[in-house]
């Protein structure tokens, strides 16, 4: 996943501090005398959400909120297993693995009372595919998606087409044999299909056509028309200031929510938000996609006796690395000495730069060993399927002496490494610290001076996806626990490399073949194949691994059921406020 569009998905639940409270799927009876009389949860976020339309959203904050308002056929539970949600049971899969048949629960309703039928699934998925929002690709495995993804209609025009079941916006592989059955025929084997449609708050989620058709683009902006199947609905919104939710009465799902209301404040400043939390104004800090608390506050809280236990440091599913520009052609204007076409000499340079960075020191100095840990097991984050194992990545080693000798071999007269620039987006303050650290390391351990170039985030993304930078920061946050999420989006023809939407430009025949094979296999079979792909990237020295991120959360001790896994905040329907 991306550094910018933060989305938590699944991974293993790592029990951390004692404040992490596990809820066993709703069957944890709490006597009503324990519960506080005011079941209103309050927490802050640091920026307003962009959109709550499942067909459009792609950022972490958006999904952490929307996941409580919308449901899909299947979902990830707290332990990141895929379980049925609107579907009454897991789908039956045909023998050839191409047809998934879902049966829907008969009791599912939208918060406005509209009953959910298979028609709604078709409408929602076709709409999402036609909208081509951030996660439309989740539906890419379905037969007919390619045609729909070429749709250019929007707004009311698109709604007309959808209502008419126009062929240009209807995936032919998606059918509804009856009101409670949905059948999805895939265009080819795809072991990742279920994970993709389980992804919370995105394109697999159901929206109510009765509501959407009246205001195709902005139906989600008003409390009256933000209608979903989730346990909560929006009751008030003041943009850039606050937003309120309330539990949906007689909700069809489980566990039935204990919270009656939610109040989310939009503050601008992490320090003041944490201070307000400490003073009792908020129950949680870190929900809503803002678990990157400032390090000094974390250190301070760790040193405060009566607050220490409220702090939870939890691995996220994001890896950050340095990418080299590996391809130079008419559309990738940055050249640089690291090109694949430079053969062994260029590879030596890449290795030199990689070995010259002390990753352990980076984690200690920049992250204080709290908010990140060195990435020693490949680019797929530790804890995810496809992780290669601790200390298996040769590029993660630190060896200044060898780095220097490799530099000598690759660039004896120093001309190739003159005037290099490392580009980064300063929007996240950690990026600036990391950039300065890297510059210092290369200066100290290699004697090479690298310029720093901060570029604003969206320009930066555009830039590195089109090959404008010889050295740049890169990162990915996993969407779901499947290596396909990484290998299909970052390298190879399937991601668009070398020329379209590709950071490093890396694309080899071997890579393309290996990825195609692994993607078609069921996951259990595919794992060794994916491991081999990871090794391919290591052998070609395509990156410098830096760190895996960790998030910081604060939970008041009187909360039950609040917590997080590597991917997402626990759903609000599990949270209970005890009397305090």
């Amino acid at each position: 996943m991306t550094p910018a569009s933060f989305r938590f998905l699944k991974a293993m639940c790592v029990a951390a501090a004692g404040s992490l409270l596990l809820v066993a799927c709703g069957n944890n009876p709490t006597t009503s005398t324990n519960l506080a009389s005011d079941q209103t949860l309050k927490f802050p976020i640091l920026g307003d959400f962009g959109t709550l339309d499942p067909g459009q959203l792609s950022s972490e904050t958006d999904s952490e909120i929307a996941q409580n308002v919308f449901n899909g056929l299947v979902k990830f539970d707290n332990n990141l297993n895929i379980v049925p949600d609107i579907a009454s049971a897991m789908p039956t899969v045909s023998a050839d693995g191409l047809t998934y048949t879902f049966k829907l629960r008969p009791d599912v309703t939208f918060s406005n009372g509209d009953k959910v039928t298979s028609k709604d699934v078709l409408y929602s998925w076709n709409r999402a595919a036609a909208l081509q929002g951030g996660y439309a690709g989740n539906l890419a495995a379905i037969d007919g998606y390619d045609k729909v993804s070429a749709n250019k209609a929007a707004g009311a025009a698109l709604e007309k087409l959808l209502e008419a079941n126009d062929a240009t916006v209807t995936m032919k592989g998606l059918t509804a044999p009856d009101a409670t059955t949905v059948q999805a025929k895939l265009s080819g084997q795809a072991g990742w299909f279920l994970s993709a449609i389980a992804l919370e708050a995105t394109t697999g989620m159901l929206v109510d056509q009765n509501v959407v058709k009246n205001d195709f683009d902005n139906w989600w902006t008003k409390p009256e028309t933000l209608i979903g199947t989730g346990a909560f609905k929006m009751t008030a919104r003041t943009p850039n200031q606050s937003v309120d939710f309330a539990a949906v009465p007689n909700w069809w799902g489980s566990p039935k929510p204990t919270l009656t209301k939610l109040h989310i404040d939009i503050l601008g400043n992490a320090h003041s938000a944490i201070a307000a939390y400490e003073q009792g104004s908020y129950d949680i800090y870190g929900y809503g996609g803002y678990s990157n608390a400032p390090v000094d506050d974390i250190l301070r809280i760790q040193g405060t006796a009566n607050e220490k236990a409220q702090l939870l440091i939890h691995p996220k599913v994001r890896t950050t690395w340095v990418q080299f520009n590996l391809v130079h052609d008419s559309s990738r204007i940055a050249g640089g000495p690291f090109l694949l076409s430079g053969g062994q000499a260029a590879k030596n340079l890449r290795l030199a730069f990689a070995l010259a960075v002390d990753k352990a020191k980076l984690a200690t100095v920049v992250c204080h060993d709290i908010i990140c840990q060195p990435a020693t097991g490949g680019l797929i984050t530790k804890g995810l399927i496809g992780y290669a194992g601790d200390n298996t990545d040769p590029l993660a080693k630190f060896d200044a002496a060898q780095a220097k000798s490799l530099l000598q071999q690759g660039d004896p007269d120093g001309s190739k490494t003159k005037n290099l620039t490392f580009t980064y987006d300063p929007n996240n303050p950690l990026n600036g610290s990391v950039a300065q650290f890297l510059q210092d390391q290369w200066q100290t351990n290699l004697g090479v001076h690298v310029n720093l170039q901060p570029v604003d985030h969206s320009a930066f993304i555009r830039g590195y996806l089109s090959g404008k930078y010889e050295l740049a920061r890169n990162g990915w946050q996993a969407d779901y626990n499947h290596p396909q999420d990484w290998y299909d989006n970052l390298w190879g023809k399937i991601a668009g490399c070398p020329d379209a939407n590709c950071g490093s430009g890396y694309d080899t025949a071997a890579y393309d073949a290996a990825v195609a094979k692994a993607d078609a296999e069921p996951l259990s079979q595919a794992i060794p194949d994916y491991q081999a792909i990871g090794k391919m990237l290591e052998d070609d020295a395509t990156y410098i691994p830096l760190y895996y991120s960790q998030g910081a959360f604060l939970f008041k001790p009187y909360l039950k059921g609040a917590g997080t896994n590597n991917f997402f905040d626990y759903y609000w329907d599990q949270i209970q406020i005890l009397s305090h």
Binding site: A275, D296, A435, Q436, D440, T444, L452
Partner: protein, 298 residues
């Protein structure tokens, strides 16, 4: 010119030594102003530190992790370390360079831009003056930090661009002052005399009016330096100042403010440096104004 000498002599007071031009008079008065004296000594020391820091600082200012992060002051690190374990004293010294460059640089440009505009507007009056006054008022109507932020975004956050942004938003002070001075000076007898003698406007402006307006201009420039340094610290605080690893007192103060609850020492050093420097320039400006004011009784 004879009339000028006569005018000068009339200003001279009876209780002063016979040989006293405006400048030596001012200098004497300035020397007697204790605050201004102390301020000047401080500034001289500051310039010295800035010059020294070009070739030497206790540690390399961008060296990360020379000590533990957020470390309070110790013998080895007199001002402690920041969030990346860098020595604050070294960064403070280099920051002095930045502050002085910004302060003096902006004012030099402001002089180059504002003085000619003010002179021309005040001397020729009429439509040229109206246009200039209108432009000045428009610039005054727009909050400067906002314009500067946008400009730095447009051009990129380099020291040069920051100086340009500050000059663009603050040149009006100088232009307005010079215009006012010119307007009043042009009515004085020596100007009339000069015109009668056939002197060309250029000579009038730069030979006669400007030298007489020099006093307030210098005072304005001296006050403009701390204003520019303050402005830069605002921009740094908002994240559009000089980029890392270059330290400016403003960005150091910003980092310190972020960590104020955990490591208060980080904010104290740059804040004091900023405040002392700004105060020094302000006291010096006060002193210069009193010294150069011919109506002063001291």
């Amino acid at each position: 010119m004879a009339t000028a000498a006569v005018a000068q002599a009339q200003i001279t007071r009876l209780d002063l030594p016979a040989q006293a031009s405006l400048w030596s008079d001012a200098w004497r008065r300035l020397k007697r102003n204790r605050l201004a004296l102390v301020a000047s000594i401080y500034l001289v020391l500051l310039v010295a530190v800035a010059l020294v820091s070009i070739v030497w600082t206790p540690y390399r200012m961008s060296a990360i992790g020379v000590t533990a992060t957020y470390a309070p002051p110790t013998a080895a690190h007199l001002l402690g370390s920041d969030e990346l374990g860098r020595d604050i004293l070294s960064r403070l010294m280099v920051g002095a360079q930045i502050s002085l460059i910004v302060g003096v640089g902006t004012q030099l440009l402001v002089l180059a831009v504002g003085v000619p505009i003010g002179l021309l507007a005040g001397y020729y009056k009429g439509p040229a003056d109206s246009i200039v006054t209108f432009i000045i008022n428009v610039f005054y109507g727009i909050p400067d930090v906002l314009v500067a932020m946008i400009m730095v975004f447009l051009l990129g956050p380099s020291l040069t661009n920051i100086i340009i942004a500050i000059v663009v938003t603050r040149w009006m002070d100088m232009a307005r002052l010079v215009r006012g001075q010119t307007l009043s000076l042009r009515e004085r007898e020596f100007v009339e005399a000069g015109r009668a003698a056939g002197a060309r406007p250029f000579k009038m402006l730069f030979g006669h009016i400007l030298p007489n307006a020099l006093g307030p201009i210098i005072v304005q420039a001296t006050f403009g330096i701390p204003a520019a340094i303050l402005f830069e610290s605002f921009l740094s605080f908002l994240g559009v100042g000089v980029q890392p690893p270059t330290p400016s007192w403003g960005s150091m103060a910003n980092e310190g403010v972020q960590a104020i609850r955990y490591a208060p020492h980080m904010v104290i050093a740059p804040s004091i440096a900023l405040s002392l420097t700004l105060m020094a320039f302000n006291f010096l400006g006060d002193g210069l104004r009193d010294a150069l004011d011919p109506r002063s009784r001291r």
